[in-house]
Symmetry: C2
Subunit: 121 residues, 2 copies
């Protein structure tokens, strides 16, 4: 985690994250294999910093959105923390680059290429 | 497909493959997110050519093995064809490199690094 702000509440608002060395390649690939989750990661990668869950306009229920963010967090792709009532999200780019150099970039590039190809169809 | 040998029988032995432009990133990532399938791809990448299904010693039933190879084929990661009674498999490395440059290499490198790290634990 690169975020350093204090978590605003403990207990039910705990958001467990895998340590860097616990991140498994298979979990990362699985998390990225779902189009909506891949879209979230692309959006976080394109932005400069962190985004709240409500910054994402996903065409699914709130509970499905929460599920997708949890899968990304538990796979080690993103960190999440509460700032007041907002749940903020950021990419764990440094952790992933240290563990799997070039992997995230190549997936993001592949996603860009695929999106461009589909736009041309 | 780079394989050019004739398929030995039609009908029930058809093995449908997606055309290069039909290969979807999400399907590729999903196929690679299962440890046994990732292992099959690593073995095919390490070898020079093609391998028959029975060259792989997987600790699962034959039907599970068949399932994993089918997922890989339908995702566009491998080609499969019959030579006599043997089902042969090869990586669609050129197709993947053309569609998603660097992606397969970065996944294979990540898998190598993870395997090395686990070996040290």
């Amino acid at each position: 985690m690169t975020a350093t702000a204090p978590v605003s509440a403990a207990g039910s608002r705990d958001l467990p994250h895998p340590a860097r060395e616990e991140i498994r390649l298979e979990d990362v690939l699985h998390a990225l294999s779902e189009p909506m989750r891949l879209g979230i990661v692309r959006e976080l990668a394109a932005g400069a910093g962190e985004l709240s869950c409500s910054d994402f306009e996903l065409p699914v229920t709130k509970s499905t959105t929460t599920h997708h963010f949890r899968v990304l967090r538990e796979a080690g792709l993103i960190w999440q923390l509460y700032r007041g009532t907002a749940k903020m999200n950021g990419l764990r780019g440094d952790d992933l680059e240290e563990l799997f150099p070039g992997l995230l970039d190549s997936v993001l590039t592949a996603a860009d290429r695929q999106a461009a190809r589909r736009g041309q169809e």
